[in-house]
């Protein structure tokens, strides 16, 4: 019965839940600046609008999971290159474990469909 809006909202909530995990995962491959991250996440349709990323990055960084350095760009403004901190790696490992657990639980619950 739930209308399209509700379902959209639920989907957005699902994406939102794993977004932080995915950002950390992207950065675990090496340092990146926001546009890189956006590109990767957009490819897999994890984010719809780019604006979503910035508040999230700021928050994760303020929690101490990320650090960044400035780098001049030959075209356009200077870029912020983000890297995972030690704390960030720990958080990523924890989230990965939690994710696997969650996937198993969800699969178990929904396998009969």
């Amino acid at each position: 019965m739930g209308n399209a809006n509700d379902i959209e909202n639920t989907k957005a909530q699902m994406r939102k839940g794993v977004l932080e995990f995915c950002i950390l995962a992207v950065l675990s491959k090496g340092e990146a600046y926001p546009s890189d991250i956006i590109e990767q996440l957009k490819e897999v349709k994890l984010i719809v609008v780019e604006g979503t990323l910035y508040p999230l990055l700021t928050r994760i960084k303020n929690e101490g999971l990320l650090s960044y350095r400035w780098e001049e760009s030959n075209a356009g403004p200077p870029r912020k290159y983000y890297t995972l901190t030690e704390k960030g790696r720990e958080a990523l490992a924890e989230l990965r474990a939690a994710w696997q657990e969650l996937v198993q639980s969800v699969n178990k619950t929904t396998q009969h469909i």
């Binding site: 909202n9 957005a12 926001p34 546009s35 609008v49 604006g51 910035y54 508040p55 356009g76 403004p77």
Partner: protein
């Protein structure tokens, strides 16, 4: 043709068309306002601006190097609306949201309007009940009930009618029926207010840090704004409380005024000999004023003089409480004019009444009191009925010895009788009765004095003086008064019964005893004045004195 502007985004210079600039500017402001309270707003803004600069740079790689509306649209498409950010970013978004809500609910707060669509008289009841979210029926019944109380409810209704504007536009009608205002919401509003102040303080402090160095000139200004914000917030909290208090006090006083002037509620009470008498202001005024016209005029004058300021007080209170901004100049003008009319009426009545009291005349007669013994007993009586001496002391006399007691159509009873004692020149008791009255002229005053009806009685050795005298066929108070002077020969005595106390008026005696202590004692006239025979110690001597007077009277009857 389109004007272009040169802007700097994140250190990159862009030429941008004016309309595109307007859209971009508004978009950035939107985002910025969205993150006001969230931590790291500046950083988020910088990041977003950097990204926008990047996107614009990509799009402007080839000429013409001008940012156009289509470019901004594409950027906004990619970045998304601020609401969409929050859809995916719960934490800061939620926090942000609550403060935003507080802001909007504050500015779009519910207001009182008269409901023109649902009205019996002026739509006051339906409007007010919409404000408090109750059934207008109860309010209407309440008002109908108060109409019966000297019309005070009617007055209040008219006042509300004047104060509260009618909801005319759609938005006003919505505001009228908006979020209900009950105790919970008022509490919520108070909290929100605090929250608002707190946030203001926070963000203000942040701005402060940021701007303190480059903009030292603005420092003082900032402090002033900052304090203004806090004080206006706190003022808002207490304002309503005081407004309610003022309205309540004003209404009580107005009701009291109306009921005492126009109603029949008793404001003066007498308790005479266990008999209780009460009079309203109207009764008392009837005794003074010549006719009902004058009486009515005074009532109206008093109402205008006292009632109008009270109404203005209530009006101000209502305006503050109901957050009414629009001014009603006609109302305050009419109120001022009415107040001045009241002043003129009262002045006129005062002057004309003063004339009524201009002249004073007196009629005196001196009569011999023939008694055989040496002691004259004095007592006072209220009526022909038996008086009880104990209760006389408790009589509550509002105007002291100047009391009106019994008022009927033909005559009034007055209590201002002054009694004193002096030395007689010969060897017999004498009483001088002086009747006084005032009037517009001497003749009138004399006539009124003559009408005063005062009869004392002498039984054996006891002189009974009535406590009150009748004004005669003239039933208005015009300064009528009785002065009684008792002449006592040297060597003879008088006994003052307790009932004489209200009549005594500065009776001279050798021990300089005040009037209220002189009763219940035996006094002998000597060369130097009245001398207390048996004063110290008072209690014991008093009973003996009474015994002796009884003996005296017994002796005198025997002699007869």
């Amino acid at each position: 043709m389109n004007k272009t502007l040169s802007i700097n985004i994140s250190g990159c210079i862009f030429n941008i068309e004016e309309d595109a600039y307007q859209v971009l500017y508004r978009y950035l402001e939107d985002i910025k306002s969205y993150f006001t309270a969230s931590d790291g707003r500046e950083e988020i803004m910088a990041d977003i601006e950097a990204r926008i600069a990047e996107l614009l740079t990509e799009r402007n790689a080839k000429p013409p190097r001008v940012v156009m509306l289509s470019d901004i649209d594409a950027v906004m498409q990619a970045m998304g609306r601020p609401e969409e950010f929050s859809g995916n970013e719960q934490k800061s978004g939620a926090k942000q949201y609550s403060t935003d809500e507080a802001d909007t609910s504050y500015s779009g707060r519910k207001r009182v309007f008269r409901d023109g669509d649902d009205k019996l008289i002026g739509g006051v009841c339906s409007g007010v009940s919409a404000y408090f979210d109750i059934d207008p029926l109860w309010l209407r019944l309440g008002f109908a009930a108060t109409f019966l109380f000297f019309g005070s409810g009617l007055l209040f209704y008219i006042l509300l009618w004047i104060v509260i504007p009618e909801a005319k536009t759609a938005s006003e009608k919505l505001q009228m029926k908006g979020e209900k205002v009950d105790i919970n919401n008022i509490g919520k509003q108070v909290n929100e207010e605090f929250e608002r102040i707190k946030n203001r303080v926070k963000s203000e402090a942040k701005e402060f840090d940021k701007n303190i160095k480059p903009q030292a000139k603005n420092f003082v200004q900032r402090v002033v704004y900052f304090l203004e914000d806090i004080f206006s917030g706190l003022f808002g909290l207490f304002k309503n409380f005081f407004a309610v208090l003022i309205i309540f006090i004003g209404l009580c006083m107005l009701l009291a005024l109306l009921s005492s002037i126009f109603g029949y509620s008793n404001v003066v009470h007498f308790n005479i000999d266990g008999q209780s008498l009460s009079y309203s202001i109207k009764d008392l005024m009837r005794v003074i004023f010549n006719n009902d016209n004058q009486l009515m005029l005074t009532a109206i004058g008093l109402f205008l003089l006292i009632g109008i300021p009270l109404l203005m007080l209530i009006y101000k209170g209502l305006r503050v409480m109901l957050n009414i901004k629009h001014k009603n100049r006609i109302f305050s003008t009419v109120a001022s004019v009415l107040f001045i009319i009241g002043l003129v009426i009262i002045s006129y009545v005062s002057v004309s009444m003063k004339k009524e009291f201009e002249y004073r005349e007196k009629i005196a007669e001196k009569i011999c009191i023939p008694i055989s013994g040496n002691t004259l007993c004095l007592r006072s009586e209220t009526n022909s009925s038996e008086n009880s001496e104990e209760e006389e002391e408790e009589t509550s006399l509002v105007f002291s010895k100047n009391t009106f007691v019994q008022i009927n159509d033909s005559s009034i009873l007055l209590g201002n009788i002054h009694f004193d004692v002096v030395k007689s020149t010969d060897d017999s008791f004498r009483l001088r009765v002086t009747r006084l009255a005032r009037g517009e002229n001497a003749k009138q005053a004399y006539g009124r004095a003559k009408q005063i009806d005062y009869h004392y009685t002498l039984t054996d050795t006891t002189l009974v003086l009535p406590r009150y005298f009748a004004s005669g066929s003239f039933n208005k108070y015009r300064g009528q008064q009785i002065n009684l002077r008792l002449y006592v020969p040297v060597g003879k005595s008088i006994f003052l019964n307790h009932s004489m106390e209200p009549l005594l008026y500065d009776v001279k005696n050798t021990s300089n005893m005040p009037d209220d202590e002189m009763t219940g004692r035996l006094w002998t006239m000597q060369i130097d004045g009245l001398n207390c025979v048996n004063c110290p110690p008072p209690k014991k001597e008093q009973s003996r004195a009474e015994a002796s007077t009884e003996e005296d009277s017994a002796a005198s009857t025997e002699e007869y």
